[in-house]
């Protein structure tokens, strides 16, 4: 079961503002889903390796040669706020 304080902690980790009513709803919904997925805690997984991907691939490297990438103009084009050279953001701190 997930309680209110855990929901608030996860929301903070996830950078999601949530309303007071939503805390209780999420606590109930997440608990319900976790109850279901707890099924896998009954499986004996001793000696089973984890799979991060279905198609195992390692050490894939490309030659380190310079190539064209997005221009500054294109990269900034869809930003909510820029100063013409970079992205503009509110000052850090004073967050929840």
């Amino acid at each position: 079961m997930i309680d209110r304080s855990e929901v608030l902690h996860i929301a903070k980790l996830a950078r999601l503002s949530i309303s007071d009513e939503e805390v209780d709803v999420l606590a109930a919904e997440l608990s319900g889903i976790l109850d279901h997925v707890e099924m896998i805690s009954k499986l004996d997984l001793a000696g089973v390796e984890p799979s991060a991907h279905s198609v195992a691939q390692t050490g894939w490297l490309r030659p380190d040669v310079p190539h064209e990438s997005l221009s500054r103009e294109k990269a900034l084009d869809q930003a909510p706020a820029t100063n013409g050279e970079g992205f503009e953001v509110p000052p850090p701190g004073s967050g929840s």
Binding site: R15, S17, V48, S54, F87, G95, S96
Partner: protein, 473 residues
């Protein structure tokens, strides 16, 4: 001549274009007229005119519908989300570029569940897509716009993506063909990510041959996607396979409890058809398949919580700034921009990855994933393909499952195991139950697309499905 272009399959159209019976100008004008008939909310954007790409490519100039989440330069690519409303990407996804070059230019973008999270298209920030067979019902999801558009004849064919069933399930619910290819065989570059170890692009079409034709131009290793791999085979034009001696496995775990009677009847009838064509049909255990959904609903949200961290109001998309500093901007932007299901999965995934819970949830889920892959490996020692219903039910009524996330998740239980194992699977129309389409799923080992397409085509020939009731007149 008086050929109705829209009633031809794409494969037939390509041949008619090559023979000079249809001009590309006529082809594009005809399909633009069809796309403008959309009254299902299937399309999120329609081109003013179709821009040609590869003039003489193998796809004949037959225009393509593309799921919203593929980045298309200068064309809105929103992934069904308010947080990306109106977003115009600075580049185009590798697979869309490749298909344009091969002669399938973009004609429309299609609506989807937000960030591909959903099985009904009701999680689209721009309204639900309606099922053309019954407008009171869902088209399935998350590629519901693509499936509905192909079924209704708004586009000749379309691209979808599949993470846990998002091509196959809507294809089943709309009475069209949907192929989820082997993981890695199609570049993911330029697909707005949901769960990177599972996401894969694939075709949604009216015929099996069309699916093979589109897929044949989608494969290839891409330097911009490190998980992409070269397909060991070339994808051949589809011919119905002689099913004599072909061994089909039926996993009881995915065909028993929970499957609606009408869906089961249609499934059994197609097994009889396969037998009559010479195939052998036998039970095939997948002992860990019942745990696939649990593993999936830990792995996919975990990956989504990480992938969606990039949507933070800084570089693109929505920004909401309550003047409470940087963290305040992040939190407010994400709260306003993401819908309920996306927020729920970000929370679930963040929890599953958080300190103290990682091993119990994400770590265990990854081990279950290994067991599921091993089940399939064992099964394919004795069987050429595994068959199941695609969806345990036909299209459900709009609003009937939105209140209970778990009941919605259960609609993926036949499709998720193949996703976790990364193997290819196709859904073909398998007749109707109470007037609504049913899907038949065929899965094979990694890179066996030629085989499952051939089996699918043989069954398609025998089933003679009529999709015309879904056609917008």
């Amino acid at each position: 001549m008086s050929t109705d272009i829209t009633k031809l399959s794409v494969t037939e159209t390509v041949a008619a274009v090559a023979a000079g019976d249809i001009s590309k100008a006529n082809l594009h004008a005809t399909w633009l007229d069809r796309a403008r008939l959309d009254d299902l909310n299937a399309l999120s954007w329609v081109a003013d005119r179709v821009k040609l790409g590869g003039e003489d490519g193998p796809l004949g100039g037959v225009p393509l519908g593309v799921k919203d989440l593929f980045c298309t330069e200068g064309v809105p690519s929103q992934s069904g989300s308010k947080i990306l409303e109106g977003y115009l990407p600075p580049y185009t996804a590798t697979v869309v570029e490749a298909l344009t070059e091969a002669g399938a230019p973009l004609i429309a973008k299609t609506h989807q569940d937000e960030f591909a999270m959903g099985s009904s298209n009701e999680n689209c920030a721009f309204g639900p897509v309606l099922n053309p067979w019954d407008r009171g019902r869902v088209p399935g999801g998350s590629s519901g716009g693509s499936a509905a558009a192909v079924a209704a004849g708004l586009v000749p064919w379309a691209l979808g993506t599949d993470t846990g069933g998002s091509i196959r399930q809507p294809a089943a619910l709309c009475g069209v063909v949907g192929l989820k290819p082997t993981y890695g065989s199609v570049s993911r570059y330029g697909m707005i990510a949901f769960a990177s170890s599972l996401d894969q692009a694939g075709p949604i079409t009216r015929t099996v041959a069309d699916a093979g034709l589109l897929y044949s131009q989608m494969t290839g290793k891409d330097p911009r996607d490190a998980t992409s791999v070269e397909h060991p085979d070339s994808v051949e034009p589809v011919v119905p396979m002689d099913l004599t001696g072909v061994r089909l496995g039926v996993p009881e775990e995915l065909t028993g409890e929970g499957v609606e009677p009408g869906v089961r009847e249609a499934f059994e009838a197609t097994l009889d058809l396969a037998r009559s064509l010479g195939a052998t049909v036998a039970p095939c255990p997948l002992p860990h398949a019942p745990h696939a959904l649990s593993a999936y609903y830990l792995i996919a949200p975990a990956e989504c919580s990480s992938n969606l961290a990039r949507l933070d109001g800084v570089r693109f998309g929505l920004r909401v700034d309550p003047d409470e500093g940087l963290d305040g901007m992040y939190g407010a932007t994400r709260a306003a921009g993401f819908g309920r299901e996306v927020r729920r999965r970000i929370m679930l995934g963040t929890y599953a990855l958080s300190s103290g819970y990682y091993d119990a949830y994400y770590g265990r889920a990854q081990r279950v994933r290994t067991l599921i892959s091993q089940d399939f490996d064992t099964a394919f020692e004795d069987f050429d393909a595994i068959v199941t219903p695609t969806s345990p039910s036909v299209a459900f009524e709009l609003g009937s499952k939105t209140a209970d996330p778990l009941s919605m998740y259960l609609s993926d239980f036949c499709t998720v195991p193949m996703s976790l194992a990364g193997i290819p699977a196709i859904s073909i129309p398998n007749g109707l139950s109470d007037g609504l389409p049913v899907g038949f799923q065929i899965a094979g080992p990694a890179f066996s697309e030629n085989r499952i397409l051939g089996i699918a085509a043989a069954l398609e020939d025998g089933l003679k499905f009529d999709g015309s009731p879904a056609w917008i007149a």
